[in-house]
Amino acid sequence: MNIYVCIKQVPDTETKIKLNPDQSGIDTAGIKWIISPYDELAIEESLRLRDKNPGSTVTVLAAGPARVVESMRTALAMGADNAIHVELPEAADNNWVAKSLAGALKKEPKVDIIFTGKEAIDDGAAQVSQLVAEYLGISYVTVVLGIEYLPSGVKCKREIEGGSFEMVEASYPVLIAAQKGLNEPRYASLPNIMKAKKKEIKVLKTSDVGTSESDQKIRYKNYQLPPPKQAGKKISGDPAAQAKELARLLHEEAKVV
């Protein structure tokens, strides 16, 4: 099978976000970049599927500035066979990214299955998976907790609200967006990290994938940090007094119960 994984590089979850002085974006100095956690699940799933189907290959794709290559090396160290980097500016929106990834995938001889994370933890928009599938004209299943692989397609367990889930059947080629619980991603071993440094990463430009700045449909501006919160009320006393006072305040003052 020809298996593809689209990943995004994001700031580590522990990152304290600082803004540029002109509020046009975040200050990226000192940020530790990681593969978005849901994309790690996508990589893991692709490797497991490849290993069950001898002769298969896993190709990892990322669109973005030069720094994303580092995350692609991590994916190669986890076990991916090939990597394709589509060069895009930092501020490219979901649409431009997705159209570029789809453009890169269209150049591949055959695509059987594509894995992604259900959303990236920086932007949190949950758009690129669906957009890539739509631009390729294939089916997608998002927020997937479990996959049964059949000869002609997949049967997925898709999480919806309230602990409920849907069973979705789709034929190949299909895009699957992973949710936590799908698997436990592996760590890259040191020898594999060393080997991954030597692997070739194919580089594509927007002209190669048929996109341009006109594919940018939205722009983020006027970044703001959340307003500092005013000091709250401390409720003291013994537990009985605290419970009573808290219930009273929630009912009478905040009017939320």
Binding site: I121, E134, S164, Q242
Partner: protein, 322 residues
């Protein structure tokens, strides 16, 4: 004033509260508010949408729409959007809305502002703000080019308006031709919990690793049931196996915006705070008075949650019975 299309959402014949939020916000701004209502056996729900301000409800009532699929919904909505040509299209950022709207935005060749927490109508445009880095910052979304402005809106962000049962809406049945659907939902398996989802609930009570084990979450559940709350958890509690991932609040879990968030035994790691900081009222109960969660708390209780929560449950019961 502009022409707005709201994509309604229902499950098992019950409309979602978040749909009323969207209709209410649009109608309150004086817009000509159209609603698309899709499903099987849903025609009877149209007038309820009117109570919140829908002017016209476009209904697709069809056996093939019993379960949501992005393909079937797109096949109904795309022609509707082309004939109606609204200047704004809105859906809730729910498992359905977030799955569907990118597909529609690509078909319409326009941008999509996802998971907005602030929305204002300005002429035939919308001004929206959304969180990034799970709420560690927010951004304004500028739409480039022409075409309808599309947004998905976080649940509970706009508030549910008071319904007015005297209002009625015009209705129209859409012709439905679904053709072949490639990805089929074969079954919907219901969750066993009677409690609301953390993203939908008006009140969320969350527990951290201080709960010590899965069984101890029972004290949170019992309290939650008194006030109709959902039960959430920190990543530490989920990683320790106390709760399933679907209950996790934070940057790698769910981002919530309830009217009341009660954090029990949660110290307030940056990734957790990111997931709940837009809650309207925040309560923190923790033995450590230096815990970062207290910086966000409107009401801080330094103490042992095992002593306080059962007493709080009784106090809340008294209020509810009153």
């Amino acid at each position: 004033m502009s022409k707005v299309l709201v994509i309604a959402e229902q499950r098992d014949g019950r409309l979602k509260k978040s749909t009323f939020e969207l209709i209410g916000a649009s109608a309150a701004a004086g817009n000509e508010t159209h609603v698309a209502l899709l499903g099987e056996g849903v025609t009877g729900l149209a007038q309820e949408l009117a109570h919140y301000g829908a002017k016209k409800v476009h209904i697709a009532d069809h056996a093939g729409l019993k379960f949501y699929t992005s393909e079937a919904y797109s096949k109904v909505l795309f022609p509707l959007i082309q004939s109606l040509s609204p200047s704004v299209i809105m859906a809730s950022h729910t498992p359905t809305g977030r799955d569907l709207m990118p597909r529609l935005s690509a078909k319409l060749n326009v941008g999509l502002a996802s998971d907005c927490t602030q929305l204002a109508f300005e002429g035939d445009q919308i001004k929206v703000r959304r969180p990034v880095y799970a709420g560690k910052a927010t951004v304004e979304v500028e739409f480039l080019g022409s075409g309808p402005r599309i947004a998905t809106v976080r649940q509970n962000a706009l508030g549910v308006p008071k319904p007015d049962a005297s209002r009625t809406a015009e209705t129209a049945q859409l012709s439905v031709d679904l053709g072949k659907i490639a990805a089929q939902v074969t079954e919907v398996v219901k969750g066993t919990s009677a409690r609301p989802d953390v993203t939908e609930a008006a009140i969320v009570i969350s527990g951290g690793r201080s709960l010590k084990n899965a069984e101890n979450f029972k004290i949170l559940e019992e309290t939650a049931d008194v006030i109709g709350a959902a039960v959430g958890a920190s990543r530490a509690a989920v990683d320790a196996g106390f709760r399933p991932h679907r209950d996790q609040v934070g940057q790698t879990g769910k981002v919530v915006s309830p009217s009341l968030y009660i954090a029990c035994g949660i110290s307030g790691a940056i990734q957790h705070l990111a997931g709940m900081r837009t809650s309207k009222v925040i309560v923190a109960i923790n033995t450590d008075s230096e815990a970062p969660i207290f910086q966000l708390a409107d009401y801080g209780v330094v103490g042992d949650l095992f002593a306080i929560i059962p007493l709080l449950k009784e106090e809340l019961k008294k209020i509810k019975e009153h």
